[in-house]
């Protein structure tokens, strides 16, 4: 019996090794594996095997003008095109090759981000800025996709829910909840894909910098049941129709919040509810804080497309706010709106943090904001 088991074990080990070799592109014909991207000290090299290409270029989001500032790659041995560039500053970037005018992903790079209906190869440059964007060392939370029924929108709808490390074990413990909203063009997976929300929360919680919390990331497109990648037909939605106005925000506050508080061990108190969102989601955040001023004690509009009247801010202040975190990039086209909101909040005496970063309407800022305000919630 032992002999059979050890032979089996040996056989499986050999099989495993062979498969691993296949994954690293080791060819039986003795070709060297192509590595791309390859980070070395202060440079990064990109490689693409393209036997019949005439012109191959590299386009990357670290470039100020990615569409216009493409970098030429050089054809090398075995038709492997390559280019070596100085390592960009620590951040997550996306890039693609352009082969004879056609955008092509990097076949050697397993790391990708989905932005709407586009998959883009991902380059993570390690450093202080990105230290919480990679996987946590030991304590990982769980990401799941429950569905809730929406009477308001007339369909079943998908959520992304993050529960922190220990949630399954600590069956007596209840947790505060952050409702984290995406922008237009995004869906319930935007924050976990491009926002690195699970990794950021895992790392902050593991390091003791953030309170263990549940994070709920709904789909903010009222005509969508779920992300387009699930191939579910969408409803046509005229947001100009008064009946539809605020429909998603109503669904969030009167359907999703109760759903979470019924199906998860969530603390059902305003002091344990936070709401944050970027761009269109920032608009939703502000709307929610206006329509349901008592519901959330932590309010974080990020690069928000939306505003509030002095009366609405006064009402919110009266209802009680523990943290108002208003963030925007100083070259964001919505920056003027943020300045105006900041002034209005001051006029009404609503104490808040006005967090201004460099840069514009980009995910590198939204990751930064999450990494920052998550540490201030529920404390």
């Amino acid at each position: 019996m032992k002999r059979i088991l050890s032979t089996l074990a040996l056989g499986l080990a050999i099989l495993g090794t062979l498969q691993a070799q296949e994954l690293t592109n080791f060819s039986l014909w003795g070709q060297k594996p192509i590595v791309s991207p390859e980070i070395q000290n202060d440079s990064v090299t990109f490689r693409l095997k393209a036997d019949y290409a005439t012109v191959v270029k590299l386009s990357g989001s670290w470039m100020p003008n990615p569409w216009g500032g493409t970098i030429d790659m050089t054809r090398g041995e075995n038709n492997v095109w390559s280019v070596k560039i100085p390592l960009p500053a620590p951040e997550i970037y996306t890039y693609n090759f352009v082969v004879d005018g056609v955008a092509v992903n990097d076949p050697q790079n397993v790391l990708v981000q989905r932005d709407g209906t586009r998959y883009l190869p991902m380059l993570l440059v390690p450093g202080e800025r990105t230290e919480n964007y990679g996987e946590a060392k030991l304590k990982h939370g769980t990401v799941s996709h429950p569905w809730y029924h929406s009477e308001i929108l007339g369909m079943e709808r998908r959520l992304t829910v993050y529960t922190p490390y220990g949630y399954e074990q600590n069956t007596k413990k209840k947790y505060p909840v952050l409702y984290l909203l995406h922008g237009a063009g995004g869906d319930e997976e935007a924050w976990t894909s491009m926002g690195r929300a699970a990794q950021i929360l895992d790392n902050l919680i593991e390091k003791g910098l953030a309170e263990p919390m549940i994070v709920v990331m709904p789909n903010g497109n009222p005509g969508q049941a779920a992300a387009r990648t699930l191939n579910i037909p969408e409803k046509a939605y005229d947001w100009r129709d008064p009946a539809n106005r605020d429909a998603y925000v109503k669904s969030l506050c009167t359907e999703i919040v109760p759903f979470i508080e019924k199906n998860f061990r969530a603390i059902a108190k305003p002091s344990s509810r936070a709401i944050a969102g970027l761009s269109m989601g920032g608009g939703h955040t502000i709307s929610a804080s206006i329509l349901y001023p008592e519901m959330f004690d932590y309010i974080c509009p990020l690069s928000a497309a939306g505003t509030a009247t002095p009366e609405q801010i006064a009402t919110l202040k009266k209802a009680g706010v523990k943290l108002y975190f208003l963030a925007c990039g100083n070259t964001d086209f919505l920056f003027q709106g943020a300045e105006e909101m900041h002034a209005k909040l001051n006029e009404q005496g609503l104490e808040h943090i006005y967090f201004v970063s460099d840069g514009g309407h980009v995910w590198s800022n939204w990751r930064l904001y999450l990494n920052t305000f998550a540490q201030k919630l529920f404390k």
Partner: protein
Amino acid sequence: MALGILVPSACNKATQPVDDENGKSNLIDLLGKEDKLYQDLTIQSAYKGQKMTYSVWLPNGYDENKTYPVLYLLHGYESGDQSHLDRCWVEKGNAREIAKQYVKDGGVPMIIVMPNGLSDFYMGAWEQYFHEELMPKVEKAFGGNGKRAIAGLSMGGFGTTYNALKYPDKFTYAYAMSPAVGYDMMKGMVDAQSDKSVFPPFTFEVGNQDTTVSNADTENLANYMKEQGLQVEYIARDGIHYWDFWQECLPKALKKVGESFK
């Protein structure tokens, strides 16, 4: 790229967009320091039977009480979601920055209209929408002075050449970048005019390494037009069928178009 980042959400009354049938929308107004850009404006088109989107760029120092010449800038074929193609030239072509710089450097202030061409090659029902619905509406709403030019890339280069040849008295310049051309059809359109002086001047700018369109067809058409007495400039330089090439074309196009407005 996630294009529709600015699609307005269900928001409170303070940010409720005004009806934009007259061509202006406050929520989508991206306030630049000097110039202005409106995106995702819509017109309900009877010819196309749907809402059509378009973007409008207003130059630095734009004065509501003045009138300006208009450049119609056309995008190329894009697969996938077609609802926001009016944004292509700004988002991928850097058109806003290029146009802003052009005016800053002493160029002729002009309005740039970037319509969503879907995949219609700017012909047929789209063509009727363009001339009879979009043009009058946008030139009235933003103050067109009656002078207009047309430019575009790839499928938009086709649309540029097609519309300039078919409606020669409407345009002061036609600038086609990496165009797809229909040689036989367009040769016929040149032949259809007995008086060749009606045609505006043309520029065709092509990339030598372009493997998507036939530069040979473009060159043949340009040569034929020249033989017929039209004013044609043909530029062939190194480049592929990609946005970096068209970003280099645009400043030149603005110069030529601006001169034609004088």
